[in-house]
Structures are given as C-alpha cells and as structure tokens.
Symmetry: C2
Subunit: 310 residues, 2 copies
C-alpha cells in the first residue's frame, strides 16, 4: 500500500466531572488526512481546508512529532518518507481536540501503511507526543477517544491505562462552538493547583456516578452526575454566553451540559436525536441573538474512532 | 407484629480510591438487634455481646438518635415504645462501620414493626442521623451498604443520591482487624483539607476505573484501580503493620488492599474464595508473628444488606 485516506474524529474531553480523564468521540467532524508513502526520506505536510495558522514544519506540527515517535519506536530505517495532506472541519482552539484528531489520524494512517505493527490502543502513546508538542502536556483524554472511539477513561498515566467504557447507544451530543479562540494554555492557567478535599470528593462521586450511569444505561444518573465543581466555575468565565447556553440546553431536555475540553465549545448530552436537535436550535438562537458566530454539531457517540476512508 | 430480630452487616467504606463515597457490605458479621414494641412510650436499649463502652442512654446511642429521626419523620404518636437488645460481633472503632450497623439494623427493624412505611433506601437518611451522633458527620458510606447490601456509591449528599453498583458475584473480601482502636475523629484530623489537583485527578481516574471494572467484571481493572493517594498515605501510619499486611495480601494474589473506613481494619479484595482464604492466613501470620491480636474475616460481598432473622 502506497496511499491511504484516514479520518479521526473530534472529541469531547473532561465531560463535566471527569477533568483530564474522560472523553468521547463524535461522528462526522474531525480530521481527514491523505497519506502517501514517498521515495524521499522524511515527513512533509501540506495543508488543505481549515488548517490556517498551523505550522507545516514537521518538527513543529503535531503530525510530524507523533509520526516520528511512531517511526522511532519501530526503529524505521526504510529509505522512504510520508507526505500528509490534512483537511480539518473544526479549527484549532475549539476545545474539540483538533490537535488530537491530527495526531491520531496520522499515526493510525502510517501504522496502516506499515502493515499494522501496532494496535489502535498501542498508538495512543505516539499520538500523546503530538499533544505534548501542542500544549506542553502529553494528555490522552482526546487522543484515546479519537483513536478508539466510544467513551474512554484515562485511569492512569503512569503507567498509561485507558479504559473503554460501556455506554448506551442512544446517547447523543450537541456541541456549540462559538467562533472565538481560548488557548488551552490560558485555560490551564486559571485552574487552581490545590482543590478543597470536599470539592474533590464531590467530583469523584460524580465520576463514579457517570461511569455507573453509562454502564447501567441509567439516563437519570448520567444527568445527575454531569457536574463539574473543579474547572467549570472558573473556565466558564472565558466563554461568552456559557450560562445562557447551558440553561437553554436544560430547557430542551439535556441530561447535562458543560465545557468541552478547555473550551470554548460547550457540549450537551441527551438520550434521543430529537432532543439533541432541539438543543442545537436553542444553542444557535443563544449565539445568533447576540451576534456571535457559532457552529453547532449533532452526533451520536462515535463507536469507531480512527478509520480508513479509502 | 410485636417483636422482630434483625441483622445489619459490617461494611467496608472508602474502598481505596472512593474516599467518602464507596462502600460494600460483608457477610456474617455485623449487628443483631432484637426489637420489641412496648406499651411504654420511649426507647430503651439493652446491651448484649460486644457492646462494651457504648452508652445505653437513647439520646447518646446511635440507635436512639436514628430511630427517633424515623419516628419524628412519621409524626409517630402511638402510645408505644421500642426496646432494643443489641449484639455486636465487631467492636466499635474497628473501621467496619460498627455504628452504621447499629443504626441501620435499628431503623430497618422499627420500619418493619411499623408495617414498612419506608423503603430501605428511604431509611438511609435516618441511619445517617446515627452516624452524625457517632462521629459528628452524617456519613452515608457505611449505612448505605449496610442497609442496601452490595457495593454502593454515594454520588451526592445534597441531595442524597446513593447508587447501587453492578459487581461480579465472585468478588471476595478478606478483612483483618488488629485489636487496637483508631477513633474516626483522630483519623479525620490527620487528613489535609486541601489536596493537589494532580492527586485528585489520580483519585477520580481510579474511582471511574473501579466502577467500570466492577460493571464489566474486569478483575485486572478492579485491581489497578484499588489505589488511594488521598487518605492511605497518612492514615496508614496509625495502623501497625499496615505495609506488611498489604504486601502479604498482594503476595497471595489480592486484587488490591487498603484501609477499611478510617481503620484500623484492612481489607483486601480477590476474585475467589481460595485466594481470600490464603490472604486470611497471611494476615493472621503478619499480626501473630508480631504478637498483636487480630481478627480476620472472609466474606463475599453481601447482596442483601439489612435483613429479618426472625
């Protein structure tokens, strides 16, 4: 195989209570990458749709960093290289794991071209190198669901332990992405490094409740558990109309709503496409009536993750 | 009905990662209470086996406090009272929820004598009043499993939300109770009121992992998740031979081991009775070889909780 086209989905990390540990994959949005094996050694990156502002230098682009980590691990010495053409339908700084989609799609595609020396799960650690290049920290809460699909829990980083959670198939998400940029680094800065034990207990009660609710298809419990007392209270200040959007989602029957990743996107979960669609209209209204451009997405939880398109 | 004999089991709270939120019920050990409806108004408490040092004054005994909360809630005005005869096979200050077993058995039995105006789940809030009398805080992590049985998660206190978790039937616990007393109040004092965000994230990753592992009957995941970076590092200092006992349990194949409640009891979990029995021998050896009297218990997770004996 000399050429492949792959897709890795956008992802919602944190999922209210699960700061730095929970995430799920979306359907229909993410990164599409065409990868060609070339006779020239090295990595070259070409930008298609939606890549404005992203460096093409492979040392500075998450694709280059992640793929090089994969090739190094294989002690790859073939006199060949890889050319990537990237197309994004969600721009960077969305809170929907844009860099994770790139890293995940790239390592997934190269692994395919090399005859699958690694499993998808193995690839997480290489994609994490891309995350490290993008934000300074080797997070897995976006790359895990982007690669594996579904709802994932990063139980531990040392050693890396990613759990695929059981969840009800009828779970839908509605995401609104107000077209303003919140840098992950800014959003990290406003978090306190010490938290009250009481708040921490509240948070892990909710993580336990959410995981149990997903496993038992108990939508009421899922909804009650979608609370964040750690990041949302401060981070939501960086997102215009956060409170209004959240309230609008609840009014339409959302199980819960919170910040996607470090924002500014906001996600809601619901138990039917019909409710998800009503929330989409409500999200649109909140931003349109305040003259803020916003994109809205409706999706099931994507059960597949990274996949071959052609 | 004029008389009833009820049992409410001992419980292991916290369960490593789930400080203040997780707990499970044991089989075979706990409180047995005979309750008689009397023609004299008021509550009287008589002590049987294992009640040394516990006040019989109903204002100061958790039974009196919990049952009065139940009767008040019912606006009980019948010219009758209740006499309790209590028998314990685990003494107070064990870390096995001794006060919770008393409160739970008492409200469960009185509720039965009154024709079950409340469900078991409703009774949690009354038993919590007993916990408040015993330790100053209305905890539910022992009373919830003692009443409901199984593995429980207190997702939230305000409002109270107790989740019965799904767990594998072949899960066994081995508990060693070194015969020294650690007061819950002392054990609370040595906890920090602020925790590092990194530690909190580790803890909620493990809570998520444990709940997922229990739901998926993934014993490996259960084991990896049984870690406590919040309470165990400091509280274990109050327990003689904690490290040795924990290591001995792992050597016999325990999935994990940690402090039961606020100690000094230590619990281990394993996936077969055979391993649970080997751990019991190992626990015994650790304490016997250091001349510390210790009681050891082996039990499945008790699926029933509070029950009528006769």
């Amino acid at each position: 195989m000399k050429k492949i086209e792959v897709f890795a989905p956008s992802t919602v990390a944190n999922v209210a209570c699960g700061f730095d540990v929970l995430g799920f994959a979306m359907e229909g949005i993410g990164d599409t990458i065409s990868i060609s094996k070339t006779s020239t050694v090295g990595i070259s990156i070409e930008h298609g749709k939606g890549c404005k502002g992203i460096p093409t230098n492979p040392q500075k682009n998450v694709i280059g960093v992640a793929v090089n980590a994969l090739l190094e691990s294989l002690a790859y010495t073939e006199k060949a290289g890889f050319r990537f053409k990237v197309s994004k339908n969600v721009k960077p700084g969305s809170g929907l794991g844009s860099s994770a989609s790139s890293s995940s799609a790239a390592v997934f595609g190269v692994n395919e071209l090399l005859g699958n020396p690694y499993t998808k799960r193995d690839l997480i650690k290489f994609a994490m190198k891309g995350e490290e290049a993008a934000s300074g920290l080797p997070h897995a809460d976006n790359v895990a669901p982007s690669l594996l699909g579904g709802f994932t829990l990063v139980r531990s980083y040392e050693p890396l332990d990613v759990v695929s959670l059981t969840y009800p198939e009828s779970l839908y998400t509605t995401v609104v992405h107000p077209q303003i940029e919140v840098k992950t680094s800014d959003s990290k800065k406003i978090l306190k490094r010490k938290v009250d034990l009481r708040d921490a207990i509240t948070q892990w009660g909710n993580v336990g409740g959410l995981v149990a609710g997903l496993a038992q298809s108990d939508f009421g419990l899922i909804g009650r558990s979608l609370q964040d007392v750690i990041a949302e209270p401060t981070r939501s200040m960086l997102i215009p109309l956060f409170k209004e959007a959240k309230e609008a989602a609840f009014k339409e029957g959302a199980l819960g709503a919170s910040i996607s990743g470090s924002g500014p996107s906001i996600f809601a979960l619901s138990f039917s496409r019909k409710i998800a669609e009503s929330i989409a209209i409500a999200f649109n209204n909140v931003y349109a009536s305040n003259n803020i451009l916003a994109h809205v997405y409706i999706s099931r939880i994507n059960p597949i993750g990274a996949e071959i398109l052609s």
